[in-house]
Point group: C3
Chain length 138, copies 3
């Protein structure tokens, strides 16, 4: 057994864009050749998050709206005031959702539900290049 | 060292039902015979989540109510409109809470707090059969 | 490869205090001597959570306020009513944010973003001694 490291680099538009990472993570699992194990997916950075969802246009809109209600962009943020910044809402949403998920590997593949995808949500106010690290144990 | 895979199958009533998974996960740890390691608990599916809590009747009610406020069932969801569906709120709540937790294994057992349990929350609008995958490293 | 266990003991003031765990976790990684692997950080207990954020005074205030809106302290909680307790809000917030994060280890260090720290949030209503378990695989 070993730990295999993988990395995904991607461009996002920011502003709550949700990107499907599933194929990229699955490719890293295949390359590692792990049959039974664990894949941990982690986004480096403080204004993006990783979770799973049904990556369907309606659910994508709904999740973005719910996180807007949790931390509205127009709210008055200390982060913005102290740093002459504009992405205070993005920091709050990213910390609340969290940067990582762990997905078991079974029979050489990710043990996701039929409609379940691994996604990155980029809450920042501008286009960003994102680095997602994947640790495969198995 | 190895990765030991385990699986829990369970019936839930849906509608925010919270199920205590702790004994099931602990049994998988014991079967694996791992003394020091990591247990990752993951629910397959997009309308359920995994976290930890004190599994006490009052806290269970409070958590269900807070997640109802985060994504109310009666809200107007794009997921419902586009798919003639009724569980848009369930998708939002599941993605926000997240599908996985990682719990260290110490001295052959889960390193949980005294009152801390691993729970599944099923947000779907109907009774479901759920599959929880457990990856044990150690 | 092996699993290396580590533990951090810390005092918090409770009441939403956010504590930076990064140096403590990094020291456990260094002691383990793991070059490529996975660090899983987990808090034992049901009124605290672990996530990542930019540990900056403004963002710290903003995150505390957003979680206060999610589960206000003054709200009427079943947990409080049934147990003559006062920390119902803390249980809700801790379960929603979650107890664990998984961070890949690359080149002997945590693969965090430049401004990204691993933090503990203690939602309890009083000062607490907290135990954070760290499982290092690699």
């Amino acid at each position: 057994m070993a730990v295999h490291g993988g990395k995904l680099q991607l461009q996002t538009g920011g502003d709550g864009e949700i990107v499907d990472l599933t194929e990229g993570v699955a490719a890293i699992v295949r390359t590692a050749g792990v049959v039974a194990g664990l894949a941990t997916v982690f986004v480096a950075g403080t204004t993006a998050a990783v979770t799973t969802m049904e990556y369907e246009a309606g659910a994508v809109i709904d999740l973005r709206e719910a996180l807007e209600r949790l931390a509205p962009q127009g709210h008055d943020y200390e982060h913005n005031r102290r740093n002459q910044d504009t992405n205070g809402h993005a920091h709050v949403r990213a910390a609340a959702v969290g940067p990582s998920v762990g997905v078991p590997i079974v029979a050489g593949g990710l043990a996701l539900g039929v409609w379940q995808q691994i996604v990155l949500i980029d809450f920042d106010t501008r286009a960003r290049e994102r680095t997602v690290m994947v640790a495969i144990v198995g």
